[in-house]
């Protein structure tokens, strides 16, 4: 796209979609608080009690709405706030202080509750900062009600909300105003706001540091949730371009959806299985609607991110069963929690190099109770034979053997309790670490399938941290070594007759599809929204030609050469819809 880009801000592409709408700045005014002495203590105490009652009612409504929109489990994040409003020790302390210090109730509320926040902010526990935000919310709510002011929660309809930060309570309220999109200064892919935006299918760009400074109320905004870009007060040309893009995407999307029940088959008759990656269970309807042949990767750590602690066996069992039942007879591959030490280590004990540290299977094997709880839940969900289990970050055979021993222990324990499971549940590993990639032939003897996670594999193969902006340009998906490694891996897996699928972001990159086909993969797992595109591309490819392309690429020595070779390949074959495919390419 060649355009003037001075009015463009970059952020994190959090929830896909493009919207054009007016900006609505959601600011939380900070109430002024005076510490003047008061005369009528009884009246001050009564207004405090009234303000607390009113806050309770407000929060009760939000809670109700949250249960309706998000389900009970997610709404539980508001329960703690409700309980604080019913904390009699706290309320008595506030009333007593008004009596003794003869200060306005808003001053006392602010002073007393801030003490707790300071304690929380001093904590090394990672989730305490977010808790402190919740308490801030409560504090401001009471103070605002003391001053009898309306919260600016009434927002205009059909706007893009721009804000520093969005609390879960805000997000729920926004759903009533038909919000078209979110832009925030802070927050990442796993924040509550992000998870909610995705499950409510509202386009969002988070982590745009200067958003509230650069955007004003009623500015016209173009929000591109695919690329994490926003355009402030776009030129007519830019609006035209994006409007056109929205329309074309809509038509193309409808056209693609007709592919829903069609198989993915190349012109020369090779069949492919296209599955979906799943982050939040709310995506499940969307996954089915897009015609996924099952789920190739369930990222269970989302359960941890949402609940802020490790869910027990029953909770996990219900979640996994729900997925397995909805997808039946297609299969669901559940990956064990892929988390690192940062979730349990205090901040001052941070690992110097977490990507090479205590994560994935290493972490799980050191937390056997937690790991076994998950294995048991997955085993129990496998009764209908359509659940598979895999583990992340494997680097040695010993890790596989230890895990298999734990699986056997879990089976025994379930049997003793008389609980049902599939005794032959398939067990596989993620191939993300070069050592595992080199030993596929040996791993093939002890597992029933492989799943290639390209993001980490590329990162470890090229020794590039793609989250590090200084070196991220060296993260090259089409680095010749990546293509050669994948070629080796597919070849080795075939020798041991072990199925291998690919589930990293590379599988969803439209450029990469002919390469992946040509390498000999037969199953791909991608974000649900990409499935129709991938099908459409595959249906227009020939395996034989893709194989020739890969063979040529294997001889090339730079990423640039490989990329232009692929582009040439596309241009020769797809004159008609190549633009449509690439303008929606999520990168």
């Amino acid at each position: 796209m060649i355009m003037k880009r001075t009015n463009v801000l970059k952020g994190i592409a959090t929830a896909p979609g493009i919207t054009i709408a007016k900006a609505f700045l959601y600011r939380k005014e900070i109430e002024s608080i005076s510490s003047e002495e008061i005369n009528d203590i009884a009246e001050a105490q009564i207004s405090l009690k009234e303000a607390i009652e009113k806050s309770k009612k407000e929060l009760g409504k939000i809670f109700e709405l949250a249960v309706k929109k998000l389900g009970e489990k997610r709404a539980a994040i508001f329960e703690a706030q409700m309980m604080i409003l019913e904390d009699n020790i706290l309320i008595d302390t506030l009333l007593n202080r008004i009596d003794k210090e003869k200060k306005a109730p808003e001053y006392i509320v602010h002073d007393e509750i801030t003490k707790y926040q300071n304690l929380m902010n001093a904590s090394t526990e990672f989730y305490m900062k977010e808790r402190s935000q919740d308490i801030e919310d409560i504090k401001n709510r009471i103070i605002r009600n003391l001053k009898n002011k309306k919260w600016k929660s009434k927002i205009d309809n059909d706007v893009i909300v721009v804000s520093e930060n969005v609390t879960p309570a805000d997000t729920v309220l926004f759903t009533r105003a038909n919000v078209k999109g979110y832009i925030t200064n802070f927050g990442g892919i796993t924040s509550h706001a992000a998870i909610l935006a995705r499950s409510l299918r509202i386009p969002a760009v988070l982590g745009v540091h200067e958003a509230t400074a650069k955007i004003e109320d009623n500015d016209l905004i173009i929000l591109d949730g695919y690329h994490g870009e926003i355009i402030i007060n776009p030129t007519e040309k830019q609006v035209e371009y994006y409007q056109d893009k929205i329309e074309r995407l809509a038509t193309f999307d409808t056209e693609l959806l007709t592919l829903r029940d069609e198989p993915a088959v190349t012109i020369d008759g090779q069949k492919y299985i296209i599955q979906a990656n799943l982050d939040v269970n709310e995506e499940i309807e969307f996954v089915i609607q897009n015609g996924a042949h099952g789920i190739g990767l369930v990222r269970t750590e989302q359960l941890y991110n949402v609940l802020e602690n490790f869910p027990d066996e029953e909770t996990q069992f219900k979640e996994y069963c729900d997925l397995a039942n909805k997808l039946y007879p297609h299969s669901v591959t559940i990956r064990a929690f892929d988390i690192g030490g940062d979730k349990v280590l205090p901040l001052d004990l941070k690992e110097p190099n977490p990507m090479l540290g205590w994560r994935g299977i290493r972490f799980l094997l050191d937390h056997q109770n937690l790991f076994k709880t998950q294995i048991k839940a997955i085993l129990r969900a496998s009764v209908n034979q359509n659940v598979k289990f895999m583990i992340p970050m494997v680097s040695s055979i010993a890790e596989v053997n230890k895990t298999k021993m734990l699986i056997d222990e879990c089976k025994k324990e379930l049997e003793e309790k008389g609980l049902k499971f599939n005794p032959n549940m398939e067990f596989g590993i993620m191939i993300e670490v070069p050592s595992a990639a080199l030993m596929i032939r040996d791993f093939g003897k002890c597992v029933s399938f492989f799943s290639v996670g390209t993001n980490d594999l590329i990162q470890y193969l090229l020794a590039v941290d793609r989250g590090n902006e200084i070196v991220s340009s060296s993260y090259q998906e089409f680095h010749p070594a990546v293509i050669r490694a994948l070629e080796f891996m597919v070849h080795e897996a075939k020798i041991t007759n072990t199925p291998m699928n690919i589930c990293g972001e590379m599988a969803a990159d439209h450029y990469a599809v002919p390469i992946i086909i040509g390498l000999g993969f037969h199953a791909l797992s991608v974000n649900a929204s990409e499935i129709p595109y991938i099908k459409k591309i595959i249906n227009n490819l020939s395996f034989k030609e893709c194989r020739v392309l890969v063979k040529e690429c294997l001889k090339l020595t730079t990423e640039d050469e490989i990329k232009s070779r692929i582009l040439k390949f596309y241009k020769e074959r797809f004159t008609e819809f190549v633009d449509k495919i690439f303008e929606n390419n999520n990168r």
Binding site: E79, D87, N88, I89, L90, M120, E125, F310
Partner: protein, 88 residues
């Protein structure tokens, strides 16, 4: 007065759910109940206070109980701590 030392043994530590349960258990008794951690003394009947503790796995706490039913409340609360907040 009864004084007891306890250790947090569940993986997730003293997070919101156990904090709420502790306060609910304590509310059933008349005795005063305080949780002491790193020189900080928190009223065990106050949810905002208990939430603030954020005691991670392995933390050592001192619990004090004082009042007519101090034995009963001590037993009830200690048993909940020793069960790892029913998260083991």
């Amino acid at each position: 007065m009864i004084e007891k030392n306890v250790k947090i043994i569940n993986n997730a530590g003293l997070h919101t759910r156990p904090a709420a349960t502790i306060v609910k258990i304590a509310a059933k008794y008349k005795s005063d109940f305080y949780i002491n951690k790193d020189g900080l003394s928190i009223n065990g009947k106050s949810i905002i206070g208990v939430m603030t503790l954020a005691a991670a796995k392995g933390s050592d706490l001192v619990l004090t109980f004082e009042g007519e039913d101090e034995h009963e409340i001590a037993e009830d609360i200690l048993s909940y701590f020793n069960r790892g907040f029913d998260e083991l």
